[in-house]
Symmetry: C2
Subunit: 225 residues, 2 copies
């Protein structure tokens, strides 16, 4: 393994539960009430796929204008419900370690660029880090495009990359991209769900991953790495 590609929400920043409640309230306000657990398991998909999945359960189909409107309301409510997006245990430390060890790494998220700033600030991300967001691709997770673009920018073969994510959508998108993946429990998805999706290993959080990073065969990319 020569490079790591991280999901953002639920993997590096603790935002999945706030996303869940914000989507639930916005959808209920639109006549699409849904249990929080149903929304929770769809965080990490694009807003469009999430909204469509809930609409489908109500036997409704939505126009693209509705989806855009719901996404806008979700963003506003999210910032109100969770003004900050705190880094998860080990998130800043693993990014700092990879930077110092010159191991190529990037972040690949379905979120839109305009929604990323507060997470980037919370993580104190180095300006050199590769960040792929939903605005840079035509289809987000569970499609593989977002991870493939990150992998290309890191200039490391897919077979030598490792995806780190908290949702089954990360694991599915990684498999479609031909990239192995490990799961973290920090998004609230269980270990068994992540293993069923195809994760090679599951760690409690980025801190546990960092403490056992050598077991994943992640080697330094720089001189003497």
């Amino acid at each position: 393994m020569k490079a790591l590609i991280f999901d953002l929400d639920g993997t590096l920043v603790d935002s999945v539960y706030a996303h869940t409640l914000a989507w639930q309230r916005v959808l209920a306000g639109f006549g699409l009430p849904s249990p929080a657990c149903v929304i929770h398991r769809r965080i990490g998909l694009s807003g469009e796929l999430l909204v469509k999945a809930v609409a489908r359960e109500h036997h409704r189909s939505l126009r693209m204008a509705d989806v855009k409107q719901l996404e806008k309301k979700h963003k506003a409510l999210l910032h109100k419900l969770a003004p900050v997006s705190p880094p998860l245990p080990g998130a800043k430390e693993i990014l700092a370690h990879l930077h110092k060890a010159r191991i190529p790494h990037g972040i690949a998220t379905s979120g839109k660029r305009s929604e990323l700033k507060r997470s980037m600030d919370a993580l104190a991300l180095s300006p050199s880090a590769v960040v792929i967001d939903g605005d840079m691709v035509s289809e987000v997770k569970p499609e593989p495009e977002i991870f493939l673009l990150c992998q290309q920018q890191l200039q490391v073969e897919a077979a030598q990359c490792l995806v780190v994510g908290d949702a089954v959508w990360d694991v599915h998108a990684a498999r479609r991209a031909g990239i192995l993946s490990v799961g973290l429990l920090t998004g609230g998805t269980s270990a068994q769900e992540l293993y069923n999706a195809g994760a090679m290993r599951v760690f409690r959080d980025a801190a546990e991953l960092l403490s056992e990073i050598d077991e994943l065969g992640v080697k330094g990319g720089g001189p003497g790495g």
Copy 2:
């Protein structure tokens, strides 16, 4: 099976995610930051056990006065974050069915009596329903007391009761009480976690349970039941 005993939060009302965020914010304000996923999996325990578990991870111990103060703040923030506690799919319907079929049933929750009113209103619970809350016992889940008290008030033997819950704590408390249990996914705990804890079966929600209730051997208790 002659009687059903329901957990409340996450089983009948959709409150687990709001509880999670409220506890996270209150604990962070007390110098005990914790990932939402860690708190999520401890909803259903008493506030005291939840708070102590998080404090332990910070190598801190709390005085009982601190616990009381945190519980008070949690309750206030919960009402702010989630002014209503909507019934989960099938919750009202299964309670109405049991009432109509004269099948003894009750609710047994770790929550305090003062916190229950809005959930009871949302469920349109019949005044005859048995409700056991955290103020009525000396130890809440995962201790068995709460389920045993409910079972005694229903006047049905433990072996002929069935607990319905969404958290591993419900399943554990039921086992300690000698009562079989089934799990619901509506609290965001996965099927495998509920099966590992000892649930006999896992349903998506109370609506799915109701649609297959005859397979659980639940028979009407009244004349001709």
